[in-house]
């Protein structure tokens, strides 16, 4: 097959290595996203042949998503929105001195999820795209609701506070232009707020700044952030076996990532959080999530890399991108004269096949490069003292927030939300639910208002939300998800009836 031969050309292979490295770095840098990485590559790949361009673009997409885990683990800042949930268990693990282990877990998970997504892209793209089409506005609304009920499980503390955080996040997301109607809302007269509160500055602010402030408090302790203890090769094998043992977790997260990736309008940022929650729900020791357990990292990183393959399904079969980086790839495809869409799989199947194979190779490739890079980063970060690390992190956050929209206001917002996030954290409001609200708010609102508009022909427009069977599936899932903590408590109380423990004092 001509396509395969093209992949195993040394020149392309070397380019893929280079691109993988760039992708990892961009993904790791808080504020630089996978979308930017893909966009960056477009002019560079323009003069190349279509095959090369496609393969390289796919490579940077996959590696950037993986790279986001590095800063999530080392700096408690998601390098891309797809790695938010990786912070929850990655950073605590790193603080314990197990940074290397966390990175290895993230690496294996990313590769697993990535391969999973690509395989499904190869084999089942067309039937899966049919399912994706069944999702209309009502389904998107209920999907967002399902996502929001995740908060119930995410909240390790007070559930009410978790939901309040989510509501706050949603309200903040309404600032700016309304997604459906287009009117300007809640901008308080500040013209730069017309565009709303951008997600990335908010992410960086909520996750990174409180961590930095904690560092400031700890400046007198000679805490070097991470200690690498074990011998390299042994750790590698041990962790590999450890991760591979958890096939159920891996598969669950992969399916979630694949599925959410397939839906245009929901991408990696949603997938990693939903996968995390689902893992927590299915776990026998849910209270351990958030303390630094491998399952948390596995869930998040497997899902977000499965999104890559998933998001390419609607792109290649329907011409509709399943995620923002996929949208950029769409532009890249068009520029090379490849028309993504219904005709693609039938007409241009050779190019598509080569592309998918290239993506497969790229996913495997990022393992050695990623581990090497991350190992270097971990050693570097652990050797720096706080007085250098803290200012440098601020430096990165400024660059990151600014490069989103070239808007200095975004950086101010980032710092302000950072301070706010710190205060809220001390009061018991975790950043996870708030960012979840920020992400899902627009999806929920768009789905709701669009549904109501479409349902205008029904006797009562709200009826459309309950009309379709697919909506009901999601509604039932949402209710289950919402009341799961309650079920679990009742269930576990029944099981351990004999033990009447006094009120726990922590």
């Amino acid at each position: 097959m001509v396509g395969l031969q093209e992949i195993f050309v040394l020149k392309l292979f070397l380019m893929m290595c280079g691109v993988t490295l760039v992708g990892l770095l961009m993904g790791a840098a808080p504020g630089l996203t996978a979308t930017m990485a893909v966009a960056l590559l477009i002019p560079i790949t323009f003069p190349l042949s279509t095959t090369y361009a496609l393969v390289l673009t796919g490579t940077i997409y996959m590696s950037a998503i993986y790279g986001g885990s590095f800063s999530a683990i080392l700096l408690n800042t998601p390098g891309t929105p797809s790695s938010i949930a990786t912070c929850f268990d990655g950073y605590p693990m790193a603080k314990r001195g197990e940074g290397q282990r966390a990175i290895l877990i993230a690496s294996f998970s990313s590769v697993y999820g990535g391969l999973f997504g690509v395989i499904f892209l190869l084999l089942l793209a067309v039937p899966l795209s049919v399912i994706a089409l069944k999702f209309g506005p009502p389904e998107y609304f209920w999907l967002a609701v399902l996502g929001i009920t995740v908060i119930a499980a995410l909240s390790t503390g007070n559930i009410v506070k978790g939901f309040i955080g989510g509501a706050i996040g949603i309200l903040i997301s309404t600032i700016g232009i309304a997604p459906v109607g287009g009117s300007m809302r809640f901008t308080m007269g500040i013209p730069n707020l017309n565009a709303g509160v951008a997600l990335i500055p908010a992410l960086i602010g909520f996750f990174c700044i409180p961590a930095v402030l904690d560092m400031v408090v700890q400046r007198e302790e000679e805490i070097h952030l991470l200690k690498t203890s074990k011998v390299q090769a042994r750790l590698f094998l041990e962790t590999f076996k450890e991760v591979m043992k958890k096939q159920v977790d891996l598969l669950r997260a992969s399916f979630i990532g694949l599925f959410i990736g397939m839906l245009p309008g929901a991408g990696g940022s949603v997938a990693n959080l939903v996968a995390y929650e689902e893992a927590e729900r299915a776990s026998k020791h849910p209270e351990k999530f958030g303390t630094g357990i491998p399952e948390g990292i596995i869930a998040s990183e497997t899902a977000n890399n499965a999104v890559v393959g998933g998001s390419l399904i609607p792109l290649l079969t329907l011409g509709v991108p399943g995620s923002p980086p996929a949208a950029v790839m769409y532009g890249a495809l068009l520029m090379h004269g490849v028309q993504p869409g219904p005709q693609l799989f039938t007409g241009n199947s050779q190019a598509v096949f080569t592309f998918i194979v290239g993506l497969f190779v790229a996913t495997l490739l990022m393992l050695p490069i990623g581990i090497a890079l991350a190992g270097g980063m971990t050693k570097l970060v652990s050797r720096l003292s706080i007085k250098v690390l803290a200012p440098f992190i601020i430096f990165l956050t400024i660059i990151g927030s600014y490069s989103i929209r070239n808007n200095i206001l975004d950086v101010y917002i980032m710092l302000t939300l950072g301070v706010l996030g710190y205060v809220l954290k001390k009061l018991g409001f975790e950043p996870g639910p708030i960012t979840l609200g920020l992400i899902l708010g627009p999806i929920a609102e768009t789905g709701l208002i669009q549904s109501l508009l479409i349902g205008g022909t029904l006797p009562h427009s709200w009826m459309i939300l309950f009309k379709y069977p697919l909506s009901w599936v999601l509604i039932i899932l949402s209710i289950t998800s919402l009341f799961w903590p309650l079920f679990r408590k009742i269930f576990s109380n029944k099981a351990s009836n004999s033990q009447q423990s006094p009120d726990p004092e922590v």
Binding site: L133, G181, G196, R405
Partner: protein, 321 residues
Amino acid sequence: MERFNKRILSLILVLVVLSLSLTSCTKKEAVYPSTPITYVLCFDPGGESDITARFQQPVLTKLLSVPIAISYITGGGGGTGWSQLTTTTPDGYTIFGTNLPHIIVQPLTGNAGYKTEQIDNIYMFESTPCILVVGQNSPIRTFDDFLKYAKAHPGMSVGGSGEPSSNSLALARLAQLSNLKLTYVSFTGSGTAITALLGGHVDALMTYTSTFIQYKDKWLPLAVATEGRLGILPDVPTFKELGYDLVEKAYRGVAVPPGTPENIRKVLEQAFEKVNQDPEVIKEMENLGFIMENYNEAQSKALVDQLTPYYTQLLETTKKP
């Protein structure tokens, strides 16, 4: 010892600052352009504006002999970028992609952060007319069927990209002219609007010809909003010939901040004029359903002046409570 250190330190800082300020003096010389030009797009990568710019980029780079760097300032339906345009240094090294009718209607519907007059359009290079389509399996087969269906189902859903946008205004005008109750459902970007029609979640779509071309095997075109029939779609009737005075196109162009010197504007105008005549560019654009337009600076201004009263009136008369 402490104080001594601090003094040396401040001396060093001063030296650093001085040396850096010297290096930044080497910026812009007389001949324009001499350093890279930033081409700012106000919409997300992968969209129509992005694709257009990417096609233009290599030709522009050759013509102007400097690299053209594409960057994005997204948000507010383009408004964030355009409001930043008004405060950008008018030295010709940052140009912005613009869209009609957006830059006319956005200031009219609220505080967009800029005024239409502040946007100095150097060139309008392409347009995508609006086209009304339905799915292949729809009971509606012709525009006449559409009218009948709309009468039987008041409030039928017609999707489109953005609001206010060319799509939404076209539908508003159609509703006005035909006295029908049509519900516009706005989708962000063309992507989700496409799946909405493919999945049968909306009854019809008021979209752009560039979108339709990609799905012409799956969709049925009912009418197109141009003056005369299009070469690429000879079998599609225009709204005009069907008796509805609806002409609606989304134009794309490029603009500079207010106050840009004349010589710079001329250089850019001529560059874009040449780009628009490049046969490669023309071929790529027309293949994707874009229509080449050629409005130079003066003509662009005239176009804006001509369209503004139309949109002002349309918005007034279709204002909802």
